[in-house]
């Protein structure tokens, strides 16, 4: 499989504008990326991630807020725990935990988003081979 599909969870107020900006500035990143917006990354459930991978996505990228979350100050720690649990869940289901990635994407982190995704895409391509 040559064109890995990536699902991105992004946060409404912080990561979304950054990802939007990547598009608005015509930055180049794989078109097989699909984005779902959530209010806060700590609301994501490991089950969703498992479901996405089982449903045909090759990887899930969680765009978190860093320390900027307007709702929770410790949302990064909480999200990290969710990602950890998700990785365990993937392992028990005989799936590669490297299919999940998390990074902080701020409201203007367009370049950083594009480069994270490109790297992740490359890593997933290798995993698929």
């Amino acid at each position: 499989m040559s064109n890995p599909k990536i699902l991105v969870f992004s946060t409404n107020n912080i990561s979304d504008p950054g990802i939007d900006l990547a598009g608005a500035s015509h930055m180049d990143y794989p078109e097989s990326v699909k984005i779902i917006t959530v209010p806060c990354s700590s609301g994501i459930s490991p089950k969703w991630i498992l479901n996405a991978i089982k449903g045909g996505f090759d990887g899930v990228f969680v765009a978190a807020d860093g320390t900027d979350c307007p709702y929770l100050t410790d949302c990064t720690d909480r999200t990290a725990k969710i990602v950890e649990k998700s990785q365990e869940l993937l392992t028990t289901n005989n799936l590669d935990p490297r299919r999940i990635k998390m990074a902080a994407i701020c409201s203007v982190c367009a370049e950083s988003f594009a480069s994270h995704i490109k790297k992740f895409y490359k890593a997933l391509s290798e995993l698929n081979n």
């Binding site: 409404n12 107020n13 912080i14 979304d16 504008p17 950054g18 939007d20 900006l21 608005a24 500035s25 015509h26 807020d65 900027d68 979350c69 307007p70 709702y71 701020c106 409201s107 203007v108 982190c109 367009a110």
Partner: protein
Amino acid sequence: MSDYKKFDALVVGGGIAGMESSILLGDMGFKVLLVEKESSIGGKMILLSKVFPTLDCSSCISTPKMAATAAHNNITVLNYSEVEEIKKKEDSFTAKILKKASFVDPAKCTGCGQCELACTVPLLDQFNCDLIPRRAAYIAFPQAVPKKAVIEKFGTSPCTFVCPVGIKAHGLVSLSRSGKFEEAYLLYLEDSPMVGTLSRICSAPCEKRCTRNQLEGSIPIRNIKRYIADKHFESFPTPQKKEPKNILDKKIAIVGSGPSGLSAAYYLAKKGYKVTIFESSDKLGGKLQLIPEYLLPKNLLDRDIEEITSYQNIEVKLNTTVSSLGKLKEDGFEAVLLSTGTCHDKGEYPDVLKQKNVIDAISFLQNKESYEALSSKNVVVFGGNNIAMHCARVALRHKANVSIHFEKDRIDMSASKKEIDDAVNEGAKLVLNSQLDKLENADFIIYSIDPKPDLSLLKGSELESSSLKVNEFQQTQIPWIFACGDVTSGHSNILKAISTSKKAAFYVDLFLNNIDLHSEKFDDRLPAVKPNEIKERYNSSFPKHMQFLPHLRADKLSLEEIEQTISEEEIKKYATGCLDCGGCSECHQCVNICPANAIDFSIRPVNYEVEVDTVIVSTGFKLFDASKKEIFGFGRFPNVIDAMQMDRILAPTRPYNAVIRPSDGKVPSNIAMILCVGSRDKKVNNNICSRVCCMYSLKQAQLIMGALPVADLTIYYIDIRAFGKGYEEFYHQAKEMGIRFVKGKVARIEEDEESNLNLFYEDIEEDGQVKIANHDMVILSVGLLSNTSAFEPFKDLKLDSDEHMFVKEVDENIEPAKTSIDGIFVAGTSTAIKDIPDSVLHAGAAAAQAAGYISKKRRGL
């Protein structure tokens, strides 16, 4: 929002200060209403590149604050709104707030931005300091909170406003300049049928009101419509059969098939009624059939009529003269629309005409067989209306010697100036103050008095004795009979015919639904945008454009159409001259594309009145307008920009996506910054220091050096004021980066032919001589002024200002944020120029004062 009437605090202005005060008060448990005039909160800070002296990303630290404000349970944000009045009411305040119409339902909008891409109107982007355009439908910037689209409309564009039929002339022009001609045809059909016919014979009031008409000449709107119609007919020689979404089980009879009857049938059929058109002659079209081919080709008229009759719920009965209205009722028609137009009553002819070779104008235009006999004959057309002009021009085309006789002066003629001029230019002789009984040498006389309303079918009805009258709803004395067109107004024109038919159809629909006719407004267009507002937007300097000259057939007296359709390239060229007077053109592209169905042009401004215990004014500052300092050429020389524009160019959401200069997109290699522009300057009435300019200039200088490492950068300054924590170090850091500092005043700037700039300056430190330096871009570090809109809501109450028009803190030294009115506080730069840390600090003080005030009051102290 309409549910809330009471808040603890009102905060006016959602910049960093307003947001900070709101959050603090919200955290303390107070209910806050935050009113922001723009569509997003965030103020100036969200637009900045980085902040001094830490060089943190300004948007990265503002966005969380904006999101926290909007997400706060105790804060209600009312964006795109302005506070119009604040009044004292016992021991609290009432505020009148106006929410501007955004034409987007925020509850439905998902912020997807598709409307922006589809919109056909460019306006200057205030969030990019006018460096680039944005669309009329826009989301302020990617980080906007709330991230919802708004549509900017200053009013109805004059061209659209003046059209009696309500055709969206501006929309047609903006679509045409984007090459969306088919979309334009469909937009036209939303408002009116007869697209081809109107594009030929409409008197185009839109062109007369076009703002460009006062300049080099109107946008050729009718010719643009002509292209739209021709292009559509070329692709679709016959219309598709049309069926409305739901066919209603109600029958309407239309008597007469002139433009008013046909259009009424169209409007009613679109709504789903079963419409029957009764026509006594053997053709649809009424008087339109009489308009000569050289003005309105028959195939075009036929195509327009087919467009209407392609509705499956329209039935046409030709050669059918209706003689009893009562019979129609018996036949099950629930409403009747009279559109029988006008006719000649031969009995009214003056006696002198009785023996002569006289023909009335309408019969003349109908009987084309008689034209052969006209050759070389002396034809007198007697009359001053447009029918007379047609007759004269037809006779000229059949080689007659034509004179037009009129009994009074030229200004009394009802034909338009153009119609008269055209006839005269084609060779007709105009004889004014002529008398019928003195006519000599006439082989034929064509007699053209205005035809009278054709009321023959009223014979035997209850209306026979009284004359036919319609009220403001086009309804006659008999409630189920409506009337429109010339039968109500006498001989007039197609615009009147279609506009009254549209109105009649609107009210017939209400009538048949048993809705009170007074309860709905037929025409709810927004008021026309005012000419001086348009001027103001363009700073009175409208971009130049070319004048339109119609393309006419070379041989004047041809029987074929005189005016020619111009090419697509030309149409686009002329359409780009449009000044977009009203903002949004109502082209409806956003409506068609919005996946959330969020766009609604029936939205109107809303007035709120709320009661609050306390108010915090945080309306921020205004930038000094650098064009007031004419010696620097701002506004004239494209490569002289102000500092706010430079901050945008350096910001992550930057307009050009690179540091380049505006005139040609070149990467600048030798940049100058001039400090204290509009500050410490008595000539512009502002002798105070703007405090932040030195520091933001040092910040921008460092960022420019980072972005363009090989560029040379010179700062022209009087002295550098680095007062805050870490600021002096920041200054030294800049010096170490190789930035050149020249102590001296710049006297003036001149532009050379490559759009580079020559700075004439006095070098104070070196030798005091006047020197010249050449730079390829100049940044003016403009000062900050008070935003005097802070005072506007205070009409009865007096909010004191200091001598620079900032809001006065009455006890500055010991009671920060307290104003001259008990209970009204001020936060941030509304009271004096501050940088961001100081604004935040001051907003904290304002929140504490406001909280103290409320608590004290509640405890009865």
